[in-house]
Symmetry: C3
Subunit: 374 residues, 3 copies
């Protein structure tokens, strides 16, 4: 019978303490960072799968949110007898294909959470239709996905006339390949203790036009290094502008070492209503982990940086850095683990409740996180 339902859940309980310069305020509290419930399976056909994910994150009160709700149809396998996953269609609400950092499940992070840079350049979820596929038997195994969607970071936004989205769609594409070695199941950490080097590389593009009348989208982009919204420094005469974002990433696993680097570019251009030059921000995160005790205890370090002229409307470049170090203790791989990390911020350009980082944060951030799944 072609119906199947799987119930899963996982959570992250975090203690966050921060010591940041005024006027920003310190935190010392427990938080439920992710409280996920997942219903997935297939319906009617083995090639028609659904995925539903709820979240009860405590940094947005105790309301449950519908994080993901999408349908995938494996056209290649169902209609043409191709191998599974070769070519499919997806529709619903899900993570847009763009950065590797967002593509990663929160369960697979080595640190407690994503980096500042990957949050700055994030596209996150949206309502979308898209295509995806992979080729396993080519010289370099490749996966790809593309989507057309409502806009950058519009996943939790109200749609319809009561919402505030502009009427421009966004589009994105991501390609990912495995040029060297057998990558294994783990997305980041080298649980497999690779004897031979394994490598994953990716590249991606996302673009959209943002109009002032879609205030949700218009107020999302921020600038380096103040972390103010771009909308707040833009002349009122500007009605719309174009955003193009690029991402390049490479990850390695070798003998307990795991190294990941992702580089981002954001180009703001075609300002309607005022003479503003093209603005370019760029940044990266670089992360290094090593299993001191194989599969159990990992030491971590990370550097993330955002640099660009968006905060001065092109007059000069500004930059901000994040450096961190941590320890991860895996009781049952990524299904039960404890991570503790410390981060030094030098004026954060983001406003992220997930990261516990506010615009302009300068100082220290201490996070300890328990993760478990069922």
């Amino acid at each position: 019978f072609p119906f199947r339902l799987k119930v899963n859940g996982w959570g992250q309980l975090r203690h966050t303490a921060s010591d940041v310069a005024l006027p920003n305020t310190d935190l010392n509290q427990f938080q439920m960072k992710r409280a996920r419930l997942i219903l997935s399976g297939n319906a009617f056909l083995p090639d028609l799968t659904y995925f539903t994910q709820f979240d009860g994150r405590s940094s947005s009160g105790d309301d449950m949110r519908l994080l993901d709700f999408y349908l995938s149809y494996d056209i290649g396998h169902s209609q043409f007898g191709f191998e599974k996953g070769t070519f499919g269609f997806r529709a619903g609400k899900y993570k847009m294909p763009f950065t590797m950092a967002r593509w990663l499940s929160g369960k697979e992070f080595e640190f407690s959470d994503r980096s500042v840079a990957s949050t700055y350049f994030d596209v996150n979820r949206s309502l979308a239709v898209g295509l995806f596929g992979e080729s396993k038997h080519t010289a370099i195994p490749i996966e790809w996905e593309t989507a057309i969607f409502n806009g950058f970071v519009t996943g939790g936004a109200e749609t319809g006339s009561s919402g505030n989205l502009d009427d421009n769609f966004a589009y994105s594409i991501r390609l990912q390949g495995y040029p060297i070695g057998d990558w294994g199941d783990s997305q980041l950490a080298d649980f497999e203790s690779h004897d031979r080097l394994a490598m994953r590389v990716g590249c991606a593009f996302a673009g959209t036009t943002i109009s002032r009348n879609g205030s949700t989208e218009f107020n999302t982009p921020r600038v380096v290094d103040s972390g103010q919204t771009f909308a707040s420094i833009l002349p009122l005469a500007v009605d719309s502008y174009h955003v193009s974002q690029f991402a390049l990433d490479a990850s390695l696993k070798w003998r307990g070492w795991s190294s990941t680097m992702e580089y981002y570019f954001r180009n703001l251009s075609d300002f309607e209503g005022a003479g503003i030059p093209s603005l370019l921000d760029h940044g990266f995160w670089f992360q290094l982990g090593y299993f001191v005790v194989p599969e159990k205890l990992q030491v971590l370090t990370r550097w993330s940086r955002v640099d660009g002229d968006s905060g001065t409307l092109g007059a000069s470049d500004q930059s901000t850095d994040e450096v961190g170090a941590g320890l991860a203790w895996y009781l049952r791989g990524n299904r039960a683990k404890i991570v503790t990390d410390v981060t030094r911020l030098d004026g954060a350009p983001i406003n992220s409740s997930a990261l516990d980082v506010n615009p302009g944060d300068r100082g220290w951030l201490f996070r300890t996180q328990m993760q478990f799944s069922f």
Copy 2:
């Protein structure tokens, strides 16, 4: 063992584009119109059933809502040995018995969504206690349901002292019969390709008194044809008034044809505090579908109209029309289908995020919707 739990889900992903006259704004976006998760079953006794339905509609952000949560007890079968469904009791939050359009599940629509007229006269969900029953073996099989509840369109409202409901209950009743032929499972479309005509008819009543101190209920009714709230044009001296609504409906199925008509009346009267005459609005929706390819491809057309003197406090009649046409392609009946329709609006009298229709909308509405269930 007398416990049973069934898990179901279904969703509608819609693309909406609109082209309406100023000052209303155009839409072009993907929306998750319905993202439902249903837990149902029985507990303790085969005749004691529960129904729980969650929704994650994206036009109200990404919060999950508890749409339905009720208990039904089949008194007739359990206590008197009658046939199942003969006579029962229901309590909780659910769709109040009134219009046929609301009684229909969203899965069974032929068009993407309900008509403007059925939204204008809608009573929707509430917290209620009620009775229901049916008689299958009479000359004309009949179903009926009645309820006493908090008020019209109060299903999503806050209750308790923090909410804003008045202290008047509402009450309603609906009767439905099948005078000709064997209706079949499908609520609207003629999936059964009836050789002989099948007919369903219904009638209903709903009434309540609305007081100014219950601002949720007081601000719900709207007037034809501006779509303003009735509260906004009512003299401040009016403290309360009475609403009586009537509905009559008839549906046919024959050789792939499906025809549905529902007529509504709304009488506003007994205004306390100012001399306002009784106001009468009336309207209808009429829908015609035909399977060009049996069970697969259906062509659709619809006309809905609201007419009345509420918008002028009795001075004169005004009216507004909605006409639409569409195509429905059923992959697996109502469990997997794609609908595309176009609607011409002539000044809408409603504010509906479900329909993507705003007060005063004049122009075109294009909707394309994928529906699937598991």
Copy 3:
């Protein structure tokens, strides 16, 4: 296989009518007081259990909330081979160990809901880490639990920098023993028709420092007998103060009789910024139930009182009382029951949507509640 998932649900549909003195307003409505869905089980190990509870209470609209989400690990059994429950660790969002009234499940109440006094001194849920245990084979069987958490009544609050919690933790402990007889499964009512007296006693402590910059916590405490927030009468110069709360309780069951008494103390002290003396409030609830028809029909009576000098900043004592009587009809024990009760209020010192009681309420409250579970 060490994975297990259990799905449960239960609900309370209540009719509330109140007749209170102006300026407070009367209610007459149906409410969904508790609409719970529970997913629980264990993962990886028999001693690692999870508990997830959702709520769709209609007095906060129709949004679903994540009420509980926690993990318990039975360290004693898993690591040291002790009997199950001897010693464990818990982390997540759950009810803090403090009053017996809060420790009780809402399913086990004899009246429709908790008393005014137990709401006044409530600590409720929070995000926490804690320890728990029991000793079954001592002369007096004992259970205990302790926790460190974000603050009093912070369970539904936003955390992170967008929230408004201060950076002081709270801590609490509760001890419970069974000095006489075999208590049985039911938490309050004497379903077991004890031939010999059974007794349960408990004591508890909770403490924290509350700072003005954590506005969520700062605005929670209320004063007797006006029910105003303590924050509203406190001089603006006060930046923080300390709260210590104590609770003592004793419950009896004997031949269909059930008697419960819990006494509370709240000491506010160490006011920073202004010379305010220590303030002491105290209060109790006392409840008596008797099964007129064993296991089926129970008559109930309750008295709850809050007394203290918080409302006058130490100048004089004020007090307020609640007296109530009711009838409980158990169809299937606490899994299906109907309760009706009437309460006389004499100026309520709380603001509780669960109880339908507002600050200053003087008058009558009539509640009738259906409860069922699956």
